[in-house]
């Protein structure tokens, strides 16, 4: 308690004020969206103030009921499963590749690494058609496989590269300690590198969660059956450029869909921020 007071006295209050002002700019769209989700459809764009003239829960009711008896809850479950599968895939495959690139010696290492970076430089709009043809041949259209499978083969170079950078920041002397204890490369991976690269793994988890949750283009192309819809497909269902948009329902379900994202973020960033470095370095 005293330390807080002290910190305020130490002329930190301008910092605080700045942070709060900044936070408001950051969070305004969230407030706006939540307020819109309680307004009737016709009011949303006429009254842009944060306080609804007419308060309604109808948007939540209408949005949640989904379509043809498939509720939004179903979409949430689908998305959770999809996201879980993607996270596991990314963590396992990307960390393996990253470990190889950062710590192991083998022929053509630099070539493969360069190639990995290059695969990220091609806009996906031109590979999506051949990819679709491929998955169609494999009879995987209308399943989650086209969305999940690449994650088990480290297709997201972003995370491989991220982990490479983290692993390279781990001092080599620690490796030596393991080696002196008689550990081989597998021990090194499982017992030293992985725990020490935990911030990178947590970051991967957070980003995979958020990006998979928000992605729509691939989901839209591969998933057309309502029962397999994800949250982002469900949200797009409310909008149609040629017709009437269910803005209220869209904002209501968007608000709900932000809750898991927010929870995941708050939950994991604790591990990201607090105590990991000190805890594991001593372990």
């Amino acid at each position: 308690m005293q330390s807080i007071l002290a910190s305020w006295k130490n002329s930190k209050w301008p910092t605080h004020l700045l942070i709060i002002a900044g936070a408001f700019i950051m969070i305004y769209p969230l407030f706006w969206m939540i307020s819109a989700s309680f307004k009737p459809n016709t009011e949303i764009f006429r009254n842009t103030s944060l306080i609804p003239e007419t308060f309604t829960l109808e948007n939540y009711r209408y949005g949640w009921k989904g379509l043809s008896g498939v509720t939004f809850g179903h979409f949430f479950l689908n998305t959770f499963m999809l996201v879980a599968a993607c996270i596991v895939g990314n963590i396992l495959s990307c960390s393996m590749a990253a470990y190889a690139f950062a710590r192991l010696e083998f022929a053509l290492r630099r070539v493969w690494f360069a190639l990995m970076l290059v695969t990220m430089m091609l806009p996906f709009h031109v590979t999506i058609i051949p990819q679709y043809i491929m998955f169609n041949q494999l009879d995987m259209i209308n399943t989650y496989w086209p969305l999940i499978l690449p994650k088990y083969f480290a297709a997201e170079g972003f995370f491989v590269f991220l982990m490479v950078q983290f692993i390279r920041s781990i001092p080599r002397e620690l490796d030596e300690a393991v080696k002196i204890d008689g550990g081989g490369p597998f021990m090194l991976y499982g017992y030293l590198i992985m725990p020490l690269a935990l911030p990178a793994i947590i970051t991967t988890t957070i980003f995979t969660f958020i990006w998979t949750w928000n992605d729509f283009f691939a989901q839209m192309l591969y998933i057309s059956e309502l029962k397999l819809y994800t949250v982002s497909l469900g949200l797009r269902m409310f909008l149609d450029a040629m017709g009437q948009n269910q803005w209220g329902a869209m904002f209501a379900m968007s608000t709900l869909s932000l809750i898991p994202l927010f929870v995941i973020f708050v939950f994991f960033q604790r591990y990201l921020i607090e105590g990991i470095a000190t805890g594991s370095l001593k372990g």
Partner: protein
């Protein structure tokens, strides 16, 4: 057999074992679509009939005649050159600020990530109009102090810059990565420097920054690669048209229009490969420069 050779083989075997998921994925999943797109780039391909080989025609048309292509490259370069450095400086400053041991900052960290959760959603598009539109907040403030207003998001000379502001505003992803990196800086080093009597500023330049250069490098490379492929931001001001007057016609947006709206997938593919070369060149430059300023603990 030579024990040295055995050792080399063993090392290679282990290396490739760990690399195998990625390598199998490259061969089985990625290689085919990538090579197919390379092939398409030499064809006229409308997606509905078989590709028709036309050699370098697409490339020639693009490089010599396509005014829109030139413009989209320019738009994208401005976006990359301004957006990436500004966003990263901002992300790092906020990360440093949020990395201090002040109470309540945990909530701020989450709040500061909110804009990035939204991506290119409708809510952000609306916010941007309320801020930078003809009747937006910025104009309201300008008029208060007697300056003329300007339709920031819908004028060809300013629309792109509102998107650069948007990019800076959505600094969450690099910020989180910076935070993770800052946590890897051993606290002992700070304690040692405090004994030496180094101030905060000096600490940052002498200890923090050098130790996180691998992550700074990562963020620079990845944000550059991603910014070159920026697509969704165009939906914020122009609903995907790239207007007004092509001032927000990002490279990949034009590529998408060519492919999916105009049914010229072959041309789109050739655009993609030119972009790949541009990005590869820039990335290679970054890697070369990294030798001078990135420090690994090796």
């Amino acid at each position: 057999m030579n024990p040295k050779l055995i050792n080399v083989l063993k090392r290679n075997a282990v290396g490739y074992l760990f690399l195998s998921p990625w390598l199998l994925g490259l061969i089985g999943l990625s290689a085919l679509p990538i090579l197919a797109s390379l092939y398409f780039s030499f064809t006229r391909y409308d997606m509905l009939t078989a590709p028709d080989w036309i050699g370098l025609d697409n490339y020639r048309e693009m490089l010599l005649n396509d005014q829109k292509w030139r413009n989209s490259l320019k738009v994208t370069l401005i976006y990359v050159l301004l957006g990436v450095p500004l966003q990263l400086v901002f992300a790092l400053s906020i990360a440093l600020m949020l990395n201090r041991g002040i109470r309540g900052l945990r909530i701020y960290r989450a709040i500061y990530y909110v804009p990035s959760l939204f991506g290119g959603s409708v809510a952000v598009a609306l916010l941007w109009r309320q801020l930078f539109g003809g009747e937006g907040l910025v104009n309201l403030l300008l008029r208060q102090i007697g300056l003329p207003g300007h339709n920031w998001i819908a004028s060809p000379d300013t629309a792109l810059y509102t998107l650069i502001v948007l990019k800076i505003w959505q600094f969450g992803a690099p910020m989180v990565i910076f935070l993770a990196a800052l946590k890897q800086v051993p606290t002992e080093l700070y304690e040692a420097s405090r004994i030496d009597g180094a101030g905060r500023w000096k600490q940052f330049w002498r200890i923090t920054l050098p130790l996180i250069t691998p992550i700074v490098f990562f963020n620079v490379v990845m944000q550059t690669i991603q910014a070159f492929q920026a697509f969704t931001p165009a939906y914020i001001v122009s609903r995907g048209t790239g207007g007004p007057l092509d001032s927000t016609l990002f490279y990949t947006l034009y590529l998408y229009q060519k492919g999916f709206t105009h049914f010229q997938m072959g041309y789109a593919a050739s655009m993609a490969w030119v972009l790949l070369i541009v990005i590869a060149f820039v990335t290679a430059m970054l890697f070369l420069s990294a030798r001078k300023w990135v420090y690994y603990q090796e």
